[in-house]
Amino acid sequence: MTDLLPIALIAGLLALDERAGWQSLLSEPVFSAAIIGALTGVLEPALQCGLVLQFVWLTIGQPRGTRRANVVVGGVVGAGTVCLVQNHTGEPNVAFVVAMGVVWGLVAGEFGARITEMTGSLRERRLEAFKLPADRAVASRNLTVAVVGSALFVVVAEILQVLFLLPTAAATTEALAARVTPSLAAGAKLWITVLPAFALVAVGRAFYQSRNPARFAIIGFAIGVLLL
């Protein structure tokens, strides 16, 4: 569990990128899983978990402001669970651990979205009360405090969520992995196998209504099926 704090800190930085910064893609699960996997030395299973989470959360052309799962907390908790369990127990049933990582990632993403909504409204209330002072120097200082304070609030909120969720997820996964029967492990594997269907739906929904992109998507699909 020595990796818990660095993982939580990474979540804070990724939240800064996603909700305060320029959205460099690092907060997307496929990238956050790579960072956490590289940090803990469990790259391949972490990436498997991040990839599946990415399929479920893949959105194309969603308008800004649409409510989405908290992909930062979800991605970090999902990949973090896989890495912590693998490092602690060296569990041979990697597919089951990855499946549990995905489950926890999805749960954390939903939980995180609720928490972010609540903490977000607290943060917004402070920002809405912001008044620009007449004095230039004071105005400049207050603006810096408002922006930096708001960014730090997001970072701390995200770190705390990960510190709460990740140990719970890792402990539950460890306990389940020790007791899992072959048929339940097969169920988890089956579940992971069908989750890419979410990506198929995201692609279909994004392009089926507009003729020109749909043509390109069909060409890409044909190349993917026949040549890759």
Binding site: L25, G61, W191, V201, V225
Partner: protein
């Protein structure tokens, strides 16, 4: 003669990287905009510059430097048409670029980068994952740097620059590229599942049809994925 040097524009641009940090429902990105304009306010030497920009501001964060460049030019020229007009310019440019930016980023570049990242992971090509991230961010940061310079050079003429057919052609091209990438990913997923057997492909397509139907009825993808988890366990228990 421009009063703002490239260094001043770079400082404003750096602050614009955190435009979203102080996002709130009433004024949206207005505090972030004030924070960015604050970096150049003294150089422009205009009285009460910040007070004129406390109203609502909302645009695509990646294209915001273009709007801000335009605002800086207008403020520098003295906003001869009065403070109401700079506000109108700001809203017009912000709306035009919000729509174009959402199509370009949420509908094209971001999904394209993500599908390429997924393809890299599927093929265990980690250098590809890194390359996607570097390319995406280079394009983003260079675009932001050029954007503020472009807006600053155009000033009032900015809105017309984004309403012509050429922009629409660019957007359509980017969207076509994203569709090609997304199609590739979808094709590869079907291809990979076919390697596991015909039943896997049939299951994948069947589950996709179910997801399509249920998400159309308002169920969200993550909740549906979680609901499928116990179902998969039950199926595994029943199968020999």
């Amino acid at each position: 003669m421009s009063r703002l040097s490239p260094g001043d524009l770079a400082r404003v641009n750096a602050r614009l990287l955190f435009l979203q940090a102080s996002l709130h429902r009433r004024g949206m990105q207005n505090i972030g905009l004030l924070f960015a304009l604050d970096a150049a306010a003294d150089k422009l030497g205009r009285d009460r510059l910040l007070e004129r920009h406390t109203d609502y501001f909302n645009t695509n964060p990646n294209l915001a430097p273009i709007v801000v460049g335009g605002i800086l030019r207008i403020e520098e020229e003295g906003d001869s048409a009065g403070p109401a007009s700079v506000s109108r310019f700001k809203q017009a440019a912000a709306s035009a670029l919000a729509a174009a930016g959402d199509v370009l980023f949420s509908g094209a570049l971001r999904p394209l980068a993500l599908t390429l990242a997924c393809l890299s992971v599927i093929y265990s090509f980690f250098a590809g994952l890194l390359a996607v991230w570097v390319l995406y961010n280079t394009a983003l940061l260079v675009g932001r740097r050029r954007g503020i310079a472009f807006g600053y050079a155009r000033g009032w003429g900015l809105v017309e620059s984004f309403s012509g057919p050429r922009v629409q052609r660019w957007l359509a091209g980017a969207r076509g590229l994203a569709a090609l990438g997304a199609g590739l990913l979808a094709g590869l997923l079907v291809n990979k599942s076919s390697a596991a057997g015909t039943y896997t492909v049939i299951t994948l397509v069947g589950v996709a049809a179910l997801i399509w139907l249920l998400t159309r009825r308002g169920m969200t993808a993550p909740r549906l994925a979680l609901a499928l988890f116990p179902l998969a366990w039950v199926i595994a228990l029943l199968l020999p």
